[in-house]
């Protein structure tokens, strides 16, 4: 591992710890870092405080863990999509996969009365699968020459899926208030039991992604080259589809559609390590967790006593980043293996 990567890894890890502490120490309730730490370490005078227990167990701890799971899932899904479509601008949010997952979830809510976390997961996975299938199909059809066109296709898909989802919701009077906030992407409603269901599946997606890395790295050279090296490209694509669908569904069912975090994380990771996908995934995961956690802390802290939806904050930060990246054209140099 080159020195720069090593330094980034260490610094990123340190920053993650700092952000974890910040995330546990900020938010509704008067408790600071000291009392939360005391509670978590089991100091008797803090454990006896019922209010503190409530704040940590039902508010701050679930939301912090959710930020880690959602950030990592979206970042890995974005990295996988970037490799599979050979497009450094790809991510589930920009390409309309998130919107597909939301549509799936809305259909489950309205027509099948889904209420459990498992149900949310299943339906958002079905929606994400649909979105991924269409996006990968269009990606293959458009070819490698048009990374910007794929983004436009993603906008079109997002419009179709989002239009349908909104239509269904508004025509059946599901609680608009709740959905509105969730639909902007928010971690404020995270619960530990939902996390316990989702986290193992996210880990499964992560493992699947890690297993596919070597083949995907070789497939960057083109399908025929990869086939000559003995790689079953269709099986690898199927694996990518499964992993990316699973990870997107995990993120959506926890936090709603959070855009741009996957794009930012995966793009930064690709800048740092353009070739070896396993290392790229490692950095992507780290960056995803960092970005989402930082954005969530900011969302709680910026407009006190109000709370911003974290997805909105990320869009406000991510959109200018996308503008700069597209304008400078740096993404074109990442199209092929250097």
């Amino acid at each position: 591992m080159p020195a720069l990567q090593k330094a980034t890894f260490v610094a990123g890890g340190g920053l993650l710890l700092v952000l974890l502490a910040l995330s546990l120490a900020t938010g509704a309730g008067v408790y600071g870092a000291e009392s939360v730490l005391g509670y978590l370490l089991g100091a008797p005078e803090y454990v006896a405080d019922d209010k503190l227990a409530m704040v940590v167990d039902t508010l701050r701890l679930p939301r912090t863990f959710a930020a880690l799971v959602v950030g990592a899932s979206l970042a890995i899904a974005a990295s996988l999509l970037q490799s599979a479509t050979r497009n450094p601008l790809a991510e589930p949010g920009l390409l309309g996969v998130n919107a597909g997952a939301v549509l799936g979830l809305v259909i489950g809510l309205i027509y099948f009365g889904v209420e459990s976390t498992q149900g949310y997961l299943l339906w958002s996975a079905l929606g994400a699968l649909l979105g991924n299938l269409v996006v990968l199909g269009i990606g293959l059809m458009l070819g490698q020459a048009s990374p910007l066109k794929l983004i436009l296709a993603g906008v079109a898909l997002g419009a179709i899926f989002g239009g349908l989802a909104n239509y269904l919701l508004l025509s059946t009077r599901v609680a608009l208030e709740q959905f509105r906030f969730w639909n902007l992407g928010s971690l404020s409603a995270s619960r530990l039991d939902a996390l316990a269901t989702v986290a193992p599946l996210a880990v499964l997606g992560l493992i699947l992604a890690a297993l596919l890395c070597r083949q995907l790295t070789l497939m960057q050279m083109g399908d025929s080259q990869a086939r000559a090296l003995g790689i079953h490209t269709s099986w690898v694509r199927l694996g990518v589809l499964a992993a990316s669908t699973l990870l997107t569904a995990c993120a959506i069912s926890l936090a709603g559609p959070v855009g741009f975090v996957g794009f930012l994380a995966a793009y930064c990771a690709r800048l740092l390590e353009p070739v070896a996908l396993l290392r790229q995934l490692l950095f992507s995961t780290l960056f995803g967790m960092l970005f989402l956690l930082a954005a969530d802390v900011l969302a709680r802290w910026l407009l006190q006593p109000y709370e911003l939806p974290v997805g909105t904050l990320l869009a406000a930060l991510g959109a200018p980043a996308l503008i700069v990246i597209v304008l400078r054209g740096g993404f074109r140099s990442l199209l092929t293996v250097r």
């Binding site: 070819g143 048009s146 436009l152 419009a159 025509s171 009077r173 911003l308 200018p320 597209v326 304008l327």
Partner: protein
């Protein structure tokens, strides 16, 4: 006297030494579309709760209806229909102007953030200043700022193709996020109608909003007619247009300013209804002879498309109120995907 050449497919109107060419097909299409729009308007007024047949509507419009029918037509249904028509006309014109100027079918005010800027300004004024009336006049301000930002980022949009559009989309996302920011600090009970408006909604619009915008648009129309011809010549490229005696930078700037103003006025009525400005000029150029920028045809197409979508969503969703913008998003998304796939061989 030399014989006067008569081009085919054209009516010529001669007044002394002047002759005016009227493209037969354009005018036929214009008439047909106007008829279609009128029919659609009558149908839209008659549809909905209460017994109101098409014949009753026509009688009431002619001034021979009962008191109840008059209230239903003039107070309840007509404002919404008029709002959809005026907004559609504006969106069709604005879309045609920018598409022709940038030479890109996807470059429409709703894709490049101009509409989002307009609606953000209106929402900000509606949220933070209690004015009583709907602050529609704020929209050109926001639209101009958004367009200024966009053109500061992309100096030569005509040559940047998809890049320009993607930058515009990112700008829209940014402006939309800022609008969500502003709205997320307010409870939904206060927001209600504003939230629906940001998705493109035509219910409950009064003449107080529609009338001044319609008057302003009518005042802009002579200017549009004036730039129509130089704009059509600009399509041949800057240097050709220059050689034909057109002051290219001045015309470009003028057309852009007009387009932004018209787009902002269109957005101010029913909110940012997406994809109408993209679909209308495409439909118009299918219908028209391909020699001019079909501004007027495009305007009529926009009105037909928007009124059609609004009526469709009203009938489909009864008794709920669903924003019209959701329907146009759905249909427009399919159109955009189709355009991209059709154009798949070209690189960006």
């Amino acid at each position: 006297m030399p014989p006067i050449a008569n081009p085919s497919g054209v009516w010529t109107l001669r007044i002394g030494g002047l002759s005016l060419l009227l493209h037969r097909r354009n005018w036929l299409m214009f008439g047909l579309l106007a008829l279609l729009l009128a029919g659609l308007a009558v149908l839209a007024i008659s549809l909905g709760s209460g017994n109101l047949g098409v014949r009753d509507v026509i009688a009431t419009l002619a001034g021979r209806g009962s008191k109840l029918q008059e209230i239903m037509v003039f107070k309840l249904r007509l404002p919404r229909v008029a709002a959809a028509i005026v907004a559609g006309l504006a969106m069709g014109m604005a879309g045609c102007l920018i598409q022709t100027l940038v030479r890109n079918r996807l470059a429409t005010p709703d894709m490049i953030g101009v509409n989002e800027g307009a609606s953000l300004a209106v929402v900000a004024f509606a949220l933070y200043l209690t004015l009583g009336n709907w602050p529609w006049w704020a929209s050109p301000l926001g639209a101009l700022l958004a367009a200024a930002a966009l053109f500061a980022l992309c100096r030569r949009p005509g040559e940047q193709g998809y890049l320009f559009i993607v930058i515009g989309i990112a700008l829209s996302e940014l402006l939309g996020a800022i609008g969500d920011f502003a709205m997320s600090t307010q409870p939904l009970v206060h927001l209600g109608s504003i939230y629906l408006w940001t998705m493109g909604h035509f219910a409950g619009i009064s003449y107080q909003t529609v009338n001044p915008i319609a008057v302003l648009l009518a005042l802009l129309c002579p200017l549009l007619a004036l730039v129509n011809r130089p704009l059509a010549l600009l399509r041949f490229g800057d240097s050709t247009a220059q050689n034909l005696g057109i002051r290219v930078p001045a015309i470009q700037l003028g057309v852009l300013a007009l387009a932004i103003l018209v787009a902002a006025l269109g957005t101010a009525i029913g909110g940012p209804v997406v994809f109408i400005a993209m679909a209308a000029p495409i439909l118009a150029s299918w219908l028209a002879r391909d020699n001019l920028a079909p501004i007027w045809l495009s305007a009529l197409c926009g009105a037909v498309l928007l009124l059609g979508s609004d009526t469709l969503v009203r009938v489909l969703a009864q008794p709920e109120e669903i924003p019209t913008g959701i329907m146009t998003r759905l249909l427009g998304g399919i159109l955009l995907l189709g355009l991209l796939i059709k154009d798949r061989r070209g690189a960006d």
